[in-house]
Symmetry: C2
Subunit: 152 residues, 2 copies
DNA sequence: TTTAGTGCAAAGTTTTTGCATGTCC
DNA sequence: GGACATGCAAAAACTTTGCACTAAA
């Protein structure tokens, strides 16, 4: 789903700040690639970002998109994930949230849950190392798929 | 880490039962591929399974390993995951557990936590669809990496 | 014997890399 | 102007597929 104009503006401002602070160049390609990733919350694939950026910058190449999205991960501007089949997806929302993964259609929906954020981990978990973050992944059938009677 | 002989036997028995019940053939390749996946709890990569199975069955081919591990996922005998970089990994432990992912070395450690299993999901999460399971992924620095002073 | 499974090889996807050219600071 | 970024093309890494042969039931 499309994010609000206000939310996108906030993300773009943050993006510019991080890029400048990192001392790397703010090119047209980088701006458009980030904007495209920030536009929706449905975790677009690289191919989708590439196709949409091309509409504004027709000469952009696929490997620039790969390199740029890789760079953004290192800068902490977005998170990537790889589904079991198909290409990687990207998430420009770096605020703390959890995921609902539909096992039928593969869609991933974000949600926030204050209760889950206060998870108390048992000693068996803490013993494994230094815990930086914890996030919950729910698996199930999303509302849209539940309305569809048969499995395709 | 290597699983106990007792645990491996239990997994192999269950494996045989599921395969027979599914009405598919119990070949040498399938037995050895599953055994190799069940041998350790460190989520071996396909390449590792292939290499080790080859020591017992020198003629086994890479695509048989791919096809067989795919089949096991459909039968619910194991779970697969794809790390951000590198090939897929497999987990033959299908009992309910959570994951500790080391952001430095990439290792994934399983743990069980009764408290987490009783997670109460907020309405915002339930609204997304029918919840089948929930599992927690902790990110942090594992104990082994924490002992290593520098980042290589 | 019959059907499903395997091995081989080839191709399909997805992702990465080297280098000359172009662009931002 | 100088250094970093881009585009192109080629290759690498990973995974899937078609078909003839083999082995399990």
């Amino acid at each position: 789903m499309k994010r609000s104009a206000k939310e996108i503006k906030r993300m773009m401002d943050h993006f510019r700040e991080v890029v400048l602070r990192a001392g790397i160049k703010l090119t047209q390609q980088r701006i458009e690639i980030f904007r495209e990733a920030a536009l929706t919350d449905d975790h677009p694939k690289l191919e989708t970002i590439f196709r949409n950026v091309r509409r504004r910058l027709p000469t952009v190449s696929l490997d620039t998109v790969y390199r740029t999205l890789h760079l953004y991960q290192e800068l902490g501007l977005l998170a990537a994930f790889r589904p079991l089949n198909g290409p990687a997806g990207f998430d420009a929302d770096m605020t703390h949230h959890h995921h609902f993964v539909c096992t039928r259609c593969g869609a991933i929906h974000d949600f926030v849950d204050d209760g889950l954020d206060r998870l108390a981990l048992s000693p068996s978990a803490r013993r494994l190392g230094q815990v930086d973050s914890a996030h919950v992944e729910i698996r199930g059938i999303c509302a849209a798929c539940a309305r569809t009677p048969k499995k395709s």
